[in-house]
Each structure stands twice: as C-alpha cells, then as structure tokens.
C-alpha cells in the first residue's frame, strides 16, 4: 500500500527544498545569528524546531527562536550543543525544563496542574452546546403554546369545526 505511493528520492528532495524555502520566507523576523547555526542542516533544523517551543524567559511571550535577548541566545547555543552531544529533541528540551521548569514550554504539558487549562475549551464547547439545545427547546415549546392564544372569534370558529353536526 505504502509502496505504491512512495515518491522517489528526487521528489522528496524537491519537496523538502520547497518546504525549507517556504519556511524561511514565512518568518521574516530572524533572531538566530548566522554564527549560532550548526553546519549540519538537519541538526540545525531540529534546533530550530526545539527553539520555537521554548519560551524566552526574559521577554516571556516570545520563543527563544524569535528573541534577541542575551539569555535566548545562550539557550539557543545550549540547545545546539546538546544536539551535537547526541541528545534527542526530547532530551534537549528536558535539559532546559529541568532548569527552568514547565514554564519554558510554550506548549504546556498535560498534567494535574494544567488539567483546567486543557479542559477549558471543551467545557466551553459543552456549555455552548447546552445553550444551543436550550434555545431550540424553548423555541419549540413556545411554538407549541402559541396556538393556545386564540382570539374568542377563532375559538368559536374552531369549536364549530370540531363539533360534530353543529351541536
């Protein structure tokens, strides 16, 4: 199955080139200095991926990949050192988390401290669904009661229609 659709290597390379090129165009703000970059493009790309997930602790709402802060620079270099030392992406991230805590992760982990954070979109969704159901129910119920409010004339006419042979 997989084999049938497997593109050959040159297509892969072309796709990779497109993706890499686009990713460069997609981010005009460069904080990463050329002298920080690794010569191995695969490692460098991994370092970029990791850096984008780590919060700059000085500016706090930027990733270290986007930040010009001195500490962000040091952490970018550190991430690259860990990768060169043979760390996996997760090991490199854990190395930073061990020192700065979960707070450095821009993508917060699912654990008891963050259950409310992760659950809140679903809670809101359920509340919204309940509100919608409530709205349509009321509409339906109100729709049913409206015909009860007949004028006397209408009621009389209705009685005439419903009563067998004008009793």
């Amino acid at each position: 199955m997989m084999r049938l659709f497997r593109p050959n290597r040159s297509i892969w390379l072309a796709m990779l080139a497109v993706v890499v090129t686009l990713s460069f165009y997609a981010r005009p703000a460069f904080a990463v200095n050329p002298d920080e970059m690794l010569s191995d493009p695969v490692l460098e790309q991994r370092a970029r991926t990791i850096s984008e997930e780590l919060r700059c602790l000085v500016c706090q709402n930027q990733s270290i990949d986007d930040s010009d802060a001195d500490l962000a620079h040091d952490l970018r270099v550190l991430v690259r050192e860990r990768l060169l030392a043979g760390d996996s992406n997760q090991q490199a991230i854990d190395y930073i988390v061990a020192r700065y805590g979960d707070y450095v992760l821009l993508n917060p982990p699912l654990k008891p401290d963050t259950y409310i954070l992760w659950a809140s979109p679903f809670i809101l969704l359920i509340l919204a669904a309940l509100a919608v159901v409530g709205f349509y129910r009321r509409k339906k119920r109100d729709g049913r009661t409206t015909p009860a409010n007949l004028t006397d004339q209408e009621r009389k006419r209705l009685d005439e229609i419903l009563s067998p042979s004008g009793e």
């Binding site: 500490l71 040091d74 952490l75 020192r99 805590g101 707070y103």
Partner: protein, 179 residues
Amino acid sequence: MRFWIAVIPLVLFAALAGIFLTNIGKDQSVIPSALIGKPAPEFSLPPLPGRDKGISRADLTQGHVSVVNVFASWCVPCRAEHPMIKRLAAEAGVPVYGLNYKEKDPQDGVNWLDELGDPYTAVGMDISGRTGIDFGVYGVPETFIIDGDGKIAYKQVGPIDAETLEKVLLPKIRELKKG
C-alpha cells in the same frame, strides 16, 4: 430558569474579582523556580582576576546554610541592591557567595566591587553564563538560599529591598539554620 440566567453574570463577576484581588501586588513576571528543593547544580567557577578563591558546589555543601547572589556590573538593579547584600552578609551570619554573571571584561566585576565594597565570602566568575543557566537564572539579580545539604531552599528574583531582606530572606535563613 430566568433567575439562574440573571445570577450567572454576578457569579462570574465575583469569581473574576476574587482572582484579580488575590493577584494584586504579585509580580506576574516572576516565574516559579523549578529548582526549589533540588540540589544546587554541579559547578566550579574561577576567581576574579587578582583573587585566589572562586566558588564551586563544594562551598555549598559544608553543612551550613549559605547564600548565592547573582550579580553583574552591567546590571543596574544590582547596584541598587548592593547595600542590602552588605546587610545580608553582616546580619545573616552565613557565607554569602557572589556569582558574577556574564561580564564583558573580567576586570569589570573587580572594579565594581572596589567601588561599592565587597561583602562576599568569595566570588566566582561566570563569563559564559552557563552556570547561571544551570541555576535557572533568567534575570539578574537573583539570590538563592542554599540549605546545609546543598539544596536550593529559596530563590529571590530581582533586587532585594529592605522589606524583602527583613521579612523574607533573614527569617528564611534563621528558620533553615535552626534545622
């Protein structure tokens, strides 16, 4: 049903007001340290130029409470904090070690201490900032209280003022000294 709908905004308001009230006066930029209760990292830093003693983890595991203060000559709040470090060293009765963080020129730290006075038991130079990262430093000044076993017991981010010194740091040190 109508009654409950009328109550919802009131309840929401009360809840939000409660949250905001408890956060007044809290510095939102202070990040809880991941290292509280953990052993101080392994490190060894060279002395300032012309001095003979740096600092290392061994200094923090001597069986008594100690303090590590991260400072730098380029750090303006450190200058404001410096008199409090002097008081801390004089009043706490524990060694206060200086971690001289990322000086552009090693001599800068020496000049700074010559000018302002040197309250430190010993000072180590962290030119690369790597030991700072191992301590989870993200803004200078920072101050760590280390217990007798070399575990980080408390971390102060930002400059120490008289109130922090008297109401937080000194009592914390006293408590730790009691065991």
